[in-house]
Amino acid sequence: MGARRIEGGIARPAPVSIDVDGQSIQAFPGESVATALWAAGIRALRTSPVSASARGIFCAMGVCQECVADIDGRTTPTCLEPVREGMRISLRWNRP
């Protein structure tokens, strides 16, 4: 199940869709890609290099690099990258 967005205090812009390994996901422009994935129930982002275990958001500030994914062809920490309409995200890029 996806994590819940908090409704109070702010109004989000109209949602857009982003592509995650061929699956279309609703997300709000400006929120981080990590947040959008989290809300869609995708917690496992990177696969660790040795044991191939799943990793997710850990620091949310661009330090730990656990949330990296392939965004439009580049390895990018998803926690720092704002959602833009039509983004293509791959989480399979580093799966063994």
Partner: protein
């Protein structure tokens, strides 16, 4: 290349305040930050595309942060966001990545205000998706406006625990338990220093009241000894600890949860001052290694200043004050006229704020027994998957220093460059050297400060136009 009088690195309360003061005093200031707006960790703004409809619901920090952002926007400082700084050369030449390209900024004076990152001493299961730092949870809650999970265990040390737990409740989530290492007695002992900020104390009590009202179980003097689950978090195991925070044998209790947020204090981010070769000293109560500095916050490298939590953990109020003082000092030294009485007042306020900040920071610092939550199989280095057993084996083979440990085991060689595992590895090394953290050294800082795209370094080029140096001797 863009040239100016001062470059400020980091737009948290410290960097933003420094930029405001120095620019208002007439200096040409450039402020760089990786984030999308000023505010730093504590005042992190919601995405610019979100409209704040109810400032009160956003909490008191939002208002302070917004005030700071407005003051900065009204100041002559030139702010560049989305810039991840990756190298600094003497002189000072700053390189930052922006949208995949490197930009170069140059100034004779540098103010470093890059804040902190969080310390987490590992335990089994901490690599599962759904486990995150307290700092991460704060960012999700305050800025991204999303819950860290449906039913969250909040664990570790310091005031962020109650703050995060209260925000989860306020956001409509459930807190499975609050598990704190400190005891009530630890807090009572810190009280004399905390009294200096009755407003913040009151806020803290407010959070605790909300937790009690919601019936959140609170375990004091307890550590998380394991996080359970195969692919996802299903719960945690906790145990009471001794005075050194060593988990007591035998007494385990389990709590069901789908997410965990955990932190063991903040560590000053000193990568720039290390990179530049400034001298540092180990200050336990300030979070670890801090750059040596004089009363103007100038380091041992002339014209490099440090401000904020990066100069030693002392909290948001102290960070802002340090920033203002540094900004004024830099202007004064550049021959600009500044209001000397204002500087005196700010310094007096800083004394008070630091007393409070250091007391809180001291309370948060991990104690030596906590390393026992790392079982032999526990992954310590998340990037390279180095376990405690690997580190213990290196120690048996003679490793004594953090850089040596890194070379021998790859602990800290991955993309996070030791920011996640460095504290745990250093604590293990210190444990065999009389607990003396200063003996085990600091990781060497090198560029790029964060992993950066290859093309951002090389840019566009044509091999035919490249002038290769002379061949090496054959």
């Amino acid at each position: 290349m863009s040239a100016c009088d001062v470059i400020v690195l980091g737009a948290g309360p410290a960097g933003a305040s420094a930029a405001i003061e120095a620019s208002k005093a007439g200096l040409n200031v450039v402020l760089l930050d990786a984030g999308a707006a000023a505010g730093g960790q504590v005042y992190r703004a919601p995405p610019g595309s979100f409209r704040v409809t109810d400032a009160e619901a956003m909490g008191p920090d939002f208002a302070i942060g917004d005030g700071l952002r407005q003051e900065l926007a009204a100041s002559p400082a030139k702010c560049f966001f989305g810039r991840s700084v990756w190298h600094i050369a003497p002189g000072f030449v700053v390189r930052a990545v922006f949208e995949g390209n490197t930009e170069v900024y140059e100034a004779p004076t540098l103010i470093v205000a890059m804040g902190t990152h969080e310390r987490v001493i590992p335990m089994p299961g901490w690599t599962l998706p759904g486990v995150m730092g307290l700092a991460a949870a704060t960012i999700l809650l305050k800025s991204q406006r999303i819950l860290p999970g449906e039913n969250t265990v909040v664990a570790g040390t310091g005031p962020l625990l109650a703050a995060v737990a209260a925000s989860i409740l306020k956001g409509g989530g459930k807190v499975a338990a609050l598990v704190e290492l400190s005891t009530r007695m630890d807090w009572v002992k810190a009280l004399p220093s905390l009294i200096s900020r009755p407003d913040l104390l009151k806020r803290g009590f407010g959070w605790l009241g909300e937790l009690r009202a919601a019936g959140v179980p609170i375990y004091r003097g307890h550590a998380l000894t394991a996080i359970t689950g195969d692919a996802e978090v299903t719960g945690v195991e906790i145990a009471p600890v001794d005075a050194q925070w060593r988990p007591l044998a035998g007494q385990r209790r389990t709590i069901a949860a789908d997410s965990v947020t955990i932190g063991h204090g903040l560590v000053p981010s000193t990568e720039v001052t290390r990179l530049m070769g400034a001298k540092h000293e180990y200050r336990h109560e300030q979070g670890g290694w801090v750059a040596l500095r004089n009363e103007d916050f100038e380091t041992t490298i002339p014209n490099i200043f440090v401000a904020g939590d990066g100069a030693g953990i002392a909290g948001a109020a102290a960070a802002a004050l340090r920033g203002r003082i540094t900004g004024l000092a830099v202007a004064r030294r550049a021959g600009r006229k500044i209001d000397a009485s204002r500087e005196t007042t700010l310094r007096a306020q800083l004394g008070k704020a630091e007393r409070f900040g250091h007391a809180i920071s001291d309370l948060m610092q991990a104690r030596p027994g906590l390393i026992e939550t790392m079982t032999p199989e526990t992954i310590v280095c998340r990037c390279e998957e180095v376990t405690r057993a690997d580190l213990d084996s290196a120690i048996r083979d003679g490793a004594r220093d953090v850089n040596q440990m890194k070379a021998w085991t790859r602990c800290g060689m991955g993309p996070c460059q030791g920011r996640m595992c460095g504290e745990a590895a250093a604590s293990l090394l210190a444990a065999v050297q009389g607990g003396d953290r200063s003996k085990v050294g600091q990781l060497t800082a090198r560029p790029p400060l964060r992993p950066i795209p290859y093309e951002a370094i090389v840019g566009q080029f044509d091999y035919a136009d490249m002038e290769l140096p002379e061949p090496q001797p054959g």
